[in-house]
Amino acid sequence: MANDKRIDDATGVETVGHEWDGIEELNNPLPRWWLWTFYLCIVFAIGYAVVYPAIPLAHSGTKGLWGWSSRGQLANETAAAQAQRAPLIAKLAATPIEKLPDDPALMQAAVSGGRAAFRVNCVQCHGAGAAGVAGLYPNLNDDDWLWGGNLKEIEQTITHGIRQPGDDKTRNSLMPSFGRDSLLTGEQIADVTSYVRSLSGLEKGSASAARGAGLFAANCVACHGTDGKGLRQFGAPNLTDAIWLYGSSRDAIGATLTNAHAGVMPAWTSKLDPVTIKMLAAYVHSLGGGEDFAPAVVASGAPVPAAAPSAEASAHAKP
């Protein structure tokens, strides 16, 4: 190809000898400033290789005179971000969680921080939308709480976990495995199942349910209450509402009675600082089902479903 060089007729300039479909390239010289720019780039590249990590060696590489590293940059930026957040963190640390709602701006900051922390620490079980997993992990969006749904109670649950071995203040209770431990016979379990399902209107009253009522009074009321609405101090769920973590079918309830569930959540106090836990509590509380502080909540369950929206709206009013 290089032998195809010729002088172009129109311009009098030599071609470089390449030709594509009749289009040829003229061997015009570069402008001088362009060449200078090129040399400048070479000089810059050499300087860059000297001051920045550049040349790979057997095990690592040259460090560069300026000592820059991407990890170092990350550390600096993280430190800068933390310094920027420091006043907010200090304010959150100094504010008891009960006082958080009094400061809407701080509350909002806590919710934002909690959202980020939730994405890192909680989504593995509770899911990105905090909707939980049926049969395993509770949904945090709804208005039904096993261990309490005000800010303080949520903070307590996150801090000490549920049935976390080695934590004295952990939420703890254990439902007997009535079937496995032969506390109730198979027929009796079926009767209790009938009764429990009748509490929330899943089944109509029956002879089996009537028999179950007696068994329930003898075995279950200590934790679930005489009305079946549960007791939060034992994390005993409300059996009269529409929310069933472990399912509401006859089989599911029968299985629970036979082999009791005892869900576990880690105590986060060893992994997260108190401010992060506070932010997480604020976030979980903000998901739409958070409860206000009121002594009455402890004994509450949800009210019965209402037909009309206006009645329902007032029925949902928080005390």
Binding site: T11, G12, V13, E14, N27, N28, P29, L30, P31, R32, W33, W34, L35, P104, G127, A128, G129, A131, N139, N141, D142, D143, D144, N238, D241, A242, I243, S286, G288, G289, G301, A302, P303, V304, P305, A306, A307, A308, P309, S310, E312, A313, S314, A315, H316, A317, K318
Partner: protein, 487 residues
């Protein structure tokens, strides 16, 4: 464009820039260029200082690109980020406008309006002011570095630097309140980006306008290539009418010559005045920015010699062929009004009209609803179904406005927001949105057990004391999900 020295065989590694020292010239095109330069520079430097009253809630700068608050103000028009299509439309109009101008009057953009041309022209005037006209400049360039030369260079480059700094300084005024920014700039309180922008633009203006000049047009800029491709036989270009000028020779040579010579007296004035240093007599070329200064120079010489003007003139290839064949010169009007320019004009005007129409009918409030999809719905303890939405309200007027969000569809549902007690849930939420602001509201819609999944709509209505109740409304359709069926 300079070519390599003969005999070098293209072996030179580089080509030195040939200095260009354009001679001062006077004439109609030069005067038009003066006027146009004054106008373009005035628009650039003065625009940020124009004030425009928008009431207490918005800046009073007539033209402002407020990046921090994501607003674009242009006199009575205010553009929000979601209305960016207006800016896109303006850019498309600018592009088609360039096509239109190029097809009608050739490379007029290059010759008159391009910032590179305007600033180079300005800097060349500075050259003449300090160093003198062409010959003095060439002499000074070749002269050794005496005290006088050093002094002149220092003075000239200082003036370059002042102009460059002003250029960079004016640019940042478009992005913040100009008087405030000037105060902050000189007291050291402006944002670092302001200083670095000024620094970069000062350096580029200094280098590109002061030293690179025609090299930018010839080597760097893609636009000459694009424009060259857009020219056709009906485009106006600056043309040397060789059939009239050749063979060229001085008046003296003409007297001695045995054959009659052309009108060109080979005085080289067209080359001397050229800001890009080309010889227009070599024919159309990429280095010609069609600034028409050679027309002024040549017309001056022709007038002195008592010959008709227009030896170098704006002409089309088609007109040239016609004239060469002995026909009359082509009327310029006919080259401007032809189908191609009319189509460009039509498209350009249609986009402009569409933008104006869109501007006229656009709403000054806006609702957009993002439904939670994870989880799509929530079953509550009483069996009722709750859906969550993030509702964004925009008030695009310069005063706070009361707005009402209403729920349309799902007749048994009610809604409340996360900043109010659920007991106050209803079918309508009232919100006050600040002047020129967007507000996000987290809305929960709850419906009794058994409500099926269905389409719902949120309607936003301004409770506007100025233009009457419910004068403006916007809607956003979305979905209410329920067990058994999700969207």
């Amino acid at each position: 464009m300079p070519s390599p020295e003969p005999g070098s065989g293209g072996a030179l590694l580089y080509e030195k820039r040939q200095g260009v020292y354009p001679k001062a010239v006077d004439g109609p095109f030069r005067r038009f260029k003066w006027l146009w330069m004054a106008l373009t520079l005035a628009v650039y430097y003065i625009t940020p200082w124009l004030r425009w009253d928008r009431g207490p809630y918005a800046p009073d700068q007539a033209v402002l690109i407020d990046l921090a608050h994501r607003r674009f103000y242009m006199f009575s028009i205010e553009i929000w980020p979601h209305e960016f299509y207006f800016v896109a439309g303006l850019l498309i109009m600018a592009g088609i406008g360039l096509f239109l101008v190029t097809s009608a009057v050739g490379r007029a953009w290059c010759g008159y309006s391009c910032p590179q041309t305007v600033w180079t022209d300005l800097f060349q005037h500075v050259d003449r002011l300090i160093d003198g006209d062409r010959n003095a400049q060439i002499r000074l360039q070749k002269a050794p570095w005496t005290a006088e030369k050093i002094g002149k260079r220092a003075l000239k480059w200082s003036i370059y630097l002042v102009i460059s700094f002003w250029t960079g300084g004016a640019w940042i005024m478009y992005f913040a309140d100009a008087p405030t920014l000037v105060r902050e700039f000189w007291t050291g309180n402006a944002a670092p980006i302001a200083y670095s922008t000024v620094a970069v633009l000062t350096v580029t203006t200094f280098v590109l306008g002061g030293f690179m000049r025609e090299q930018v047009c010839i080597y760097m800029c893609p636009w000459p290539r694009i424009q060259t491709a857009m020219l056709d036989e009906k485009s106006l270009t600056v043309t040397y009418k060789d059939w009239r000028g050749e063979p060229r020779g001085s008046v003296k040579q003409a007297r001695q010559s045995s054959v009659p010579l052309g009108d060109c007296v080979d005085c080289n004035q067209c080359v001397a005045v050229c800001p890009t240093g080309i010889d227009i007599r070599e024919g159309p070329q990429i280095g010609c920015i069609t600034c028409a200064l050679c027309i002024d120079a040549c017309d001056g010489v022709m007038t002195q010699l008592g010959r008709p003007r227009g030896l170098i003139d704006y002409a089309t290839l088609e007109g040239c062929a016609q004239e060469k064949a002995g026909g009359p010169p082509e009327a310029i009007v006919r080259t401007i009004f032809r189908p191609r320019t009319m189509i460009y004009l039509g498209v350009w005007a249609a986009i402009g009209a569409a933008l104006l129409f869109a501007l006229g009918v656009r709403r000054h409030l806006d609702i957009s609803v993002a439904k939670d999809r994870n989880p799509p719905f929530m079953l509550m303890s009483d069996g009722s179904v709750r859906n969550a939405y993030t509702v964004k309200l925009r008030n695009m007027e310069g005063r706070p406005r009361d707005m009402v969000i209403t729920l349309v569809g799902a007749p048994t549902a009610v809604m409340w927001s996360d900043d109010m007690p659920r007991s106050e849930a209803s079918r309508a939420l009232r919100r006050r949105v600040g002047a020129d602001l967007a507000a996000a509201v987290r809305v929960y819609v709850i419906a009794p057990a058994g409500t099926p999944a269905q389409d719902i709509t949120f309607t936003l209505r301004a409770q506007d004391e100025k233009s009457g109740v419910g004068a403006e409304a916007d809607t956003h359709a979305t979905r209410f999900d329920a067990p058994g069926e999700t969207s």
